[in-house]
């Protein structure tokens, strides 16, 4: 899907305005989704997307490669989001307490998870792990592309993706197993 929209964008890049409109029509939905997961607030997400596009409009002449358009927009969006927290950015709560050796236990997991607990697990995932997962699952980016967007090494991306999925499994397991007061499970 990513390649097709990139191609569509390329075809419509005839002028600055049409280029901008193509960027909006092609990527605003994906940017909005990404923004919601970053901000946890639909109104703030929309404002963030609008800010992102205004920034993009001001520097659209610097976009030379249409294939990089979406990644360019995501980079702007991340920067705009960071601006919101310049003075009060919360510290990361990452705690790598998951043992890789527990991997084999996953084969014993029974059943599939429900969307609601998936959503809660995704919300609970530290931003450091959630972002690469969003970029891979939602954006369709490779580890190398994610590394460029997040400005970290490809190896770090792989580690974070591994841990992100591992932590989600743990979170879902714990939400399924614990605190079932009043449930029929």
């Amino acid at each position: 899907m990513k390649d097709l929209t990139d191609f569509a964008v390329l075809l419509t890049m005839k002028s600055k305005q049409t280029q901008f409109e193509a960027l909006v029509n092609s990527y605003s939905t994906d940017l909005y989704r990404y923004a919601v997961w970053l901000t946890h607030d639909h109104n703030v997400a929309e404002e963030l997307v609008q800010e992102t596009y205004l920034r993009a409009w001001k520097s659209i002449s610097s976009l030379k490669d249409s294939k990089a358009a979406k990644a360019w927009l995501i980079t702007i969006l991340r920067r705009e989001n960071a601006r919101r927290f310049e003075k009060k950015r919360p510290e990361s709560t990452v705690n790598d307490d998951v043992d890789p050796d527990t991997l084999l236990e996953f084969a014993c997991d029974d059943g599939l998870v429900e969307n609601m607990s998936l959503q809660q697990s995704l919300e609970k995932l530290p931003e450091e792990y959630r972002e690469p997962l969003l970029l891979q699952v939602m954006g369709g980016y490779s580890c190398n592309e994610i590394a460029d967007i997040l400005d970290i090494t490809s190896q770090a991306v792989m580690t974070r993706l591994f841990r992100a999925r591992q932590k989600m499994r743990k979170l879902i397991e714990s939400s399924d197993n614990n605190y079932a007061l009043g449930s029929n499970r």
């Binding site: 997961w37 890789p100 792989m158 614990n178 009043g182």
Partner: protein, 231 residues
């Protein structure tokens, strides 16, 4: 590649698997099942992430680009947010003044334990049948024995809402458990006063609290209760 390496690779990117990994999957049923399960998980994850954007988003972006209107909207949002916060603050202040039940769940739990502190000395060795009766009053049941229970009874928490009060024999002393089907908490929270510490845990129906003196580790009781108490 061994199973651990294969599963690590699947968790890094389940959609892009190397030839070596695919060869392993042909001969290892457990890893193949793991991969299938992960692919289903990925689909659900993708569905969860696919939030529907608000209608007219693209049009509003283009409008903001042509008019610079976003700044006005932001100021308006800020003004409304400040006004809403002010009204909410006044509302909360009035509610605190006029509502006799404005006590927080934290205060409620600690007050209940302190008011009935005499039960900490009970040694009634309550039977499983009696405990089931108490939970039946709340339309709940206990799926397995709770261990030594020194006191158990139904009680009114507040607003005439029924609850249950149990005192378990802890490792270092009595552990009070309050079952509160009508008290909602958003997330697991710690509470304490000069004598006790505790935790309030959200549940499908209401919440439950585990309180003991500070030398008692509470988490094992939280885990146990979360698993054995059923509707």
């Amino acid at each position: 590649m061994n199973c651990l390496e294969v599963r690590r690779a699947i968790l890094v990117d389940p959609q892009k698997l190397s030839g070596e990994l695919l060869s392993h999957l042909e001969t290892c049923n457990a890893c193949a099942a793991f991969k299938e399960e992960q692919l289903i998980f990925e689909q659900q994850l993708s569905d969860t992430m696919s939030i529907t954007p608000p209608e007219g988003l693209a049009s509003r972006i283009l409008l903001a680009q042509s008019t610079g209107q976003i700044q006005t909207q932001k100021r308006q949002h800020r003004f409304l947010a400040i006004a809403a916060s002010f009204i909410l603050a006044i509302g909360v202040m009035i509610a605190v003044q006029i509502n006799p039940f404005s006590q927080s769940v934290d205060q409620l739990v600690l007050a209940h334990v302190n008011n009935e502190v005499n039960h900490l000395n009970d040694k009634l060795n309550v039977s499983d049948a009696k405990i089931q009766t108490i939970f039946k009053e709340l339309n709940m049941k206990v799926s397995s024995p709770l261990g030594q229970v020194n006191f158990a009874g139904n009680c009114e928490m507040r607003n005439k809402q029924k609850g249950a009060h149990l005192v378990l024999q802890g490792k270092n002393g009595p552990v009070t458990v309050l079952i509160m089907p009508a008290e909602q908490v958003a997330s697991k929270r710690k509470i304490s006063d000069p004598r006790f510490h505790g935790v309030i845990v959200p549940a499908t129906r209401g919440s439950f609290a585990v309180v003991a003196e500070r030398n008692e580790i509470l988490e094992p009781y939280v885990q146990q209760l979360g698993q054995v108490i059923k509707m």
